[in-house]
Symmetry: C2
Subunit: 172 residues, 2 copies
């Protein structure tokens, strides 16, 4: 079985990093719970552009926390299946090396040959895609699993996994 796993908001806590910056910079107390059903910027629409620019700050992608359970479960999955990391990173040229280094740190068991930095994900050939974004999941030919992130909690179109524990029980 070939399995593709997205990075941001699936194994890397991008959403949490946006909240952390917003709380520091605007002296706020946002939480993921308070943001449920939308993007972080929707809590501060006047700062949408500034929040978007987080993606271009040196170190943004390198300093993300791993999502709870992702390391342990992906290690197990990669012993049984062909596990690829597939991140739509090409939009952020400076993220490419940071993402590679981040994987070296937290997912060293995912060999370079199994890392994909791309744009469109419908060009992937395999059995399962775990992703947080509908636009990636809807064009994938295979089993699409939506990984819960605050922004997608109201989406009903896909088989849902709320945690890496649930991924484990579905796939292992």
């Amino acid at each position: 079985m070939t399995l593709f796993v997205d990075m941001d908001e699936v194994i890397a806590d991008t959403y949490g990093a946006h909240i952390k910056r917003v709380n520091e910079r605007y002296n706020m107390n946002l939480t993921k719970e308070a943001c449920r059903g939308g993007e972080v910027w929707q809590q501060l629409p006047d700062h949408r552009e500034a929040i978007w620019r987080h993606y271009f700050e040196p170190g943004f992608f390198r300093e993300l926390d791993p999502i709870a359970g992702s390391q342990e479960v992906l290690r197990e999955l990669s012993e049984k299946y062909e596990v690829y990391i597939a991140s739509a990173a090409m939009q952020f040229p400076d993220s490419l090396k940071e993402k590679h280094e981040w994987l070296d740190e937290y997912f060293p068991f995912i060999h370079w040959s199994k890392r994909i930095l791309c744009g469109d994900k419908h060009i992937l050939r395999g059995d399962v895609l775990i992703d947080d974004r509908s636009h990636n999941l809807e064009h994938f030919v295979g089993r699409s699993l939506i990984f819960t992130s605050p922004h997608n909690v109201n989406t009903t179109a896909f088989e849902r996994v709320n945690s890496w524990e649930e991924v484990c029980s579905k796939l292992l």
Copy 2:
């Protein structure tokens, strides 16, 4: 139709860059013709390691010349088909941004969403792969076109294209 196009030795003259460095550094007069049937390092087996390290020199991938005809033909192809660039770049972390910038310079009409930096290429879903390496072509499910490079002239396993002119006449 979805078309995947490799970078090194298909649209970027990596082979020529190795020869240029070897000629400058070892005061030689190697040519592509003299190397036919093998890799550049096979002409200087004692320097295999040093030639491999070219890949890790800053600027190596950024300074490559485009292969003759690749820009014109890919522009035409991309107006008719879904054209993706797919490069097994993950082995060289410093190449990632350089390759992205190189594409911005020479192939600006290939949008970021159509650029793939990966390892294994058998995870690509599409109709045609143009590549110079047998190990990429043999596992692709679709039409595999081998693009002639000095190192692959003796390979007979795939449909061959000797130039971008030939790609044009086969696909356009």
